[in-house]
């Protein structure tokens, strides 16, 4: 029997969550304050969870590596958040949001989880408005909506191009309220370096105080990991510089299975790479595709300025290939189409690795003021980076790594395969299947944090009301701390010759070339060999200056990149195992004659969940079969 038990409740899809909530165990209010919960990460999922759990009465300890919880990278999400409110009267419903998400994810997500996500989506908007989140409104004072890729209704709530910022500041304010009350103890500039397992249960973490270098032990009755995704494996991504996979990787090595690591999202509209010193890529919100039109010249190597290319000589390839959805096809489809045109020699700009995103029609139709009201801050951001004015000349865009659908495998309660250890938000393998729809990450992070974990964690903690405080002076904590210290010491004492970034950039290039937008068997096998060799060189030759007991940013990076090597290898193995194309995972061997992704539902309609087996052993693959009882599985078409 499989070790995986997804614990999906019985009953009809619509009643599962309500029934489950009605029957899981509760913790009495007077017992909650004797129960400690650790939350690692303070983005939308972690911040919302920490605040909600503290409001309920639990003693919460929250951790972030940044100097304040308000800096978590959720803040950079631009476009919006989906919710099935049907405020626009365009026929939206819980079922439609559920259906769009399953289809958008190319039928590789769990029905029950996605339905729950759609079900609580409306509560999120209510909650955020009550917190004072200033969503966009119309002149009647009611909330405004826009549309996003892969759907045909307007269900995206937004706050100009800064929706993530406003939602995160809402969660941060809710956390701040609890920090002021003393129900959340906040640890800024602390990085989790291991989880501590006692008698098979997650009972604490080891952290490093990044200011002083001190290694600390923290115990709790449950540990929640909400540390985001792992797109920085690629070095160049739209993630923040500090975004890392260390927390998720450490729990993987302590028994939590890793789900679908090869499902990464390449976002179609990013500012193209400008030079070799580039440190990160900047996203241009998908909302731009509401009014911008994507095109390339019909002629190869056309070096004319975009405005000199007449209408008849432009190829609006998304509108041509996908007339029903046009420029608003899902991200994976839009990204591959851009790559296809550029690979075929129609790319624009100096590098020829870019396509145009043109607003001249929108400016004619709506006027410059209206375009500015909708996208002003994005246009400004683009101009600051590229020195070009998008009101006058089309933007140049190219796909970039943006989000990871894969992550720690969790059951319906968001618990990992380790009892008492939970993963939320982008850190879990989540509800997005093989491709996430725009404006759904914010929805999932907040759903997990505000409306799922507060209920499900009680079911587990109800058995801990008599446990008492978890001591930290036990052999399990000793051992975990010892390992953490040994590794940190290794880096400081290694005295190699090359900085961490040198290795990270090379890893990123291998991953982008061979495990990026398109993958094939030969490339993936090469990548695994190359990563192993590079990893060996890294451990031999990395140089980390400074000492342990001080603020040491190179030391922080070294630990994170060491984990990226191992995770990168697992991503390639997972991509190699999945002999089909689905969503963001495009295996060149498996495509339709038109170049669309070709799924293999007979053999691959499962979640791959990898179990760590030790440093020198191959990880073991477990399969969670996906059952589609409410949706008819079909070839995904946006034509």
């Amino acid at each position: 029997m499989s070790k995986l038990n997804s614990k999906i409740p019985e009953g009809s899809l619509e009643k599962k969550w309500a029934n489950h909530k009605d029957h899981i165990k509760l913790v009495n209010p007077s017992n909650k304050r004797h129960i400690d919960v650790i939350v690692v990460g303070t983005g939308l999922a972690g911040g919302a969870a920490a605040a909600s759990l503290a409001e309920m009465g639990y003693s919460v300890k929250a951790f972030c590596f940044q100097d304040s919880p308000r800096r978590a990278h959720s803040i950079a999400a631009q476009g919006g958040i989906n919710a099935a409110k049907n405020y626009q009267n365009d026929g939206d419903s819980t079922y439609r949001l559920f259906y769009d998400t399953i289809k958008g994810g190319d039928y590789r997500a769990r029905e029950a989880n996605v339905y729950r996500l759609a079900e609580v989506s409306g509560n999120i908007i209510d909650q955020c408005v009550a917190q004072g989140v200033p969503f966009a409104r119309d002149y009647g004072g009611l909330l405004d909506n826009r549309s996003f890729g892969g759907v045909q209704v307007q269900r995206t709530f937004y706050a100009r191009g800064q929706t993530g910022q406003q939602l995160l500041l809402g969660a941060y304010s809710a956390m701040s309220r609890q920090i002021g009350k003393g129900t959340i103890k906040m640890y800024n500039r602390h990085e989790m370096l291991d989880v501590v397992i006692v008698n098979g249960k997650a009972r604490g973490i080891i952290t490093r105080n990044l200011l002083t270098g001190e290694i600390e032990r923290h115990s709790a009755h449950a540990v929640i990991i909400a540390t985001g995704g792992y797109a920085n494996v690629f070095f160049l991504s739209t993630n923040a510089m500090g975004s890392n996979a260390t927390a998720t990787w450490k729990i993987y090595k302590k028994g939590a299975f890793f789900g679908n690591p090869c499902f990464t999202q390449i976002h179609p509209t990013c500012i193209p790479v400008a030079g070799e010193h580039q440190s990160k890529l900047t996203l241009m919100s998908e909302s731009l595709r509401n009014d911008g039109r994507i095109w390339v010249p019909k002629k190869k190597d056309d070096n004319r300025k975009p405005k000199d290319i007449p209408e008849g000589e432009r190829d609006y390839y998304l509108e041509r290939r996908y007339p029903a959805f046009g420029n608003l096809v899902p991200r994976d489809v839009a990204s591959r189409a851009a790559k296809e045109r550029c690979d075929a020699g129609y790319g624009v700009g100096k590098s020829k690795l870019a396509v145009y995103l043109d607003f001249s029609d929108a400016i004619k139709r709506l006027g410059k003021d209206e375009v500015s009201a909708r996208y002003g801050n994005l246009f400004q951001m683009y101009e600051k980076i590229t020195d070009e004015n998008p009101y006058e000349t089309p933007m140049r865009i190219y796909p970039a790594v943006h989000y990871t659908m894969g992550g720690i495998w969790v059951d319906y309660n968001l618990m990992t395969t380790v009892p008492g250890l939970y993963a939320l938000g982008e850190a879990n393998f989540s509800d997005h299947g093989a491709n996430r729809l725009g404006a759904s990450a914010l929805m999932q992070g907040l759903a997990d944090g505000y409306f799922v974990i507060p209920y499900t964690v009680g079911d587990y903690l109800a058995d801990d009301i008599r446990t008492g405080k978890i001591p930290t002076n036990t052999p399990e904590f000793d051992e975990a701390e010892k390992q953490v210290k040994e590794r940190l010491n290794y880096f400081i004492n290694n005295k190699g010759t090359k900085p961490v970034d040198h290795f990270h950039k090379q890893l990123g290039k291998i991953m982008w070339d061979k495990c990026g937008m398109a993958r094939n068997e030969k490339g993936l096998k090469e990548a695994i060999t190359e990563i192993k060799a590079l990893k060996a060189e890294f451990w031999k030759d990395v140089r980390v200056p400074g000492s342990l007991n001080e603020f040491n940013q190179e030391l922080e990076k070294a630990g994170r990149v060491a984990d990226f090597f191992e995770l990168g290898e697992l991503m390639c193995k997972d991509a190699l195992n999945r002999n089909e194309s689905c969503g963001g995972h495009f295996r060149e061997e498996y495509q339709t004659p038109e170049g669309e992704a070709l799924r293999d539902d007979n053999n691959y309609a499962y979640v791959s969940a990898w179990e760590y087996k030790g440093e020198h052993a191959e990880p073991e693959l477990h399969k969670e079969e996906l059952k589609f009882e409410n949706i008819k599985i079909a070839q995904r078409s946006y034509k």
Binding site: A51, D67, Y139, K384
Partner: protein, 257 residues
């Protein structure tokens, strides 16, 4: 481009600091300012020297983590951007660039260019929120908000908490930061209920942290990367005045059975 960088180096919070010179050659004008520092750090590490510590994270101007006083201006010479959005094309070949940390008593230096801004978190914890628990909210559209007020609240809410206002102010005042949050929540019906209590508590914490007073110079508004308006300070002063005249201490009610 060739540049001479004069950078503040300070080993730790209680160590003395000094300006150290670094020569940079072949800097591409398309590089961002922080990428230029990445290149410098790369070369320092390769030489076995300690790299320059500076705060940064999202590198797209929204997280508020980056700082830096560049040639005497918070976030450098350009307007309405953060340091991470600054590009080397804003400088000229052969230029000398002075790079220092935020300077304010309430933002002590941690190392080199990194400062401790946790005072802002403590001000937020004192009252920068609406007291609503998860799960208790009514339908989001049950309370219309005039677009004018919603837009003003949004403008105030775009503050990224970077601290440029404090660093720029000759008094190291945090009034622009505090007033942005006070305004955002006071302008919305959801935040109106506890507006008076909020402004009293946030201002008290601001004073306790040792930030200076506002003397209406307006430098904060000029240097704010998000263009937060001075109008917010006026609104906070009005809120504070009204609150201090009408505010009633919360009476503890015991029992209830």
């Amino acid at each position: 481009m060739n540049l001479l960088l004069k950078i503040w180096r300070q080993k730790g919070p209680n160590e003395p600091g000094k300006i150290v010179d670094y020569k940079m050659t072949d800097v591409s004008p398309d590089m961002s300012f922080l990428e230029m520092l990445d290149v410098l750090n790369d070369s320092l590490v390769t030489k076995g020297e300690e790299p320059i510590a500076f705060d940064h994270d999202c590198r797209e101007g929204i997280c508020g983590m980056c700082s830096l006083y560049i040639n005497g201006e918070a976030h450098g010479p350009e307007k309405l951007i953060t340091t991470c959005q600054l590009h080397m094309r804003s400088f000229t070949d052969g230029e000398t660039i002075h790079i220092e940390p935020w300077r304010a008593k309430s933002f002590p230096v941690v190392k080199d260019l990194v400062v401790d801004r946790s005072a802002f978190d403590r001000i937020m914890a004192a009252g920068g929120f609406v007291s609503v628990n998860t799960g208790g909210a009514q339908d989001a559209n049950c309370l219309p908000v005039s677009k004018v007020n919603a837009d003003k609240a949004f403008d105030a809410a775009t503050c990224i908490g970077c601290g440029a206002c404090v660093a720029t102010c000759k008094n190291s005042s945090a009034m622009l930061f505090v007033s942005a949050k006070v305004s955002q929540l006071a302008l919305l019906p959801q935040g109106k209920v506890e507006a008076r209590e909020r402004v009293m508590k946030m201002v008290a914490q601001m004073d306790a942290e040792g930030f200076g007073n506002c003397t209406n110079t307006g430098a904060c508004e000029v240097e704010c990367p998000k263009g937060i308006s001075l109008e917010n300070i006026a609104r906070m002063n009005r809120e504070y005045l009204v609150a201090s005249l009408t505010h009633e201490e919360k009476k503890e009610v015991s029992g209830g059975f």
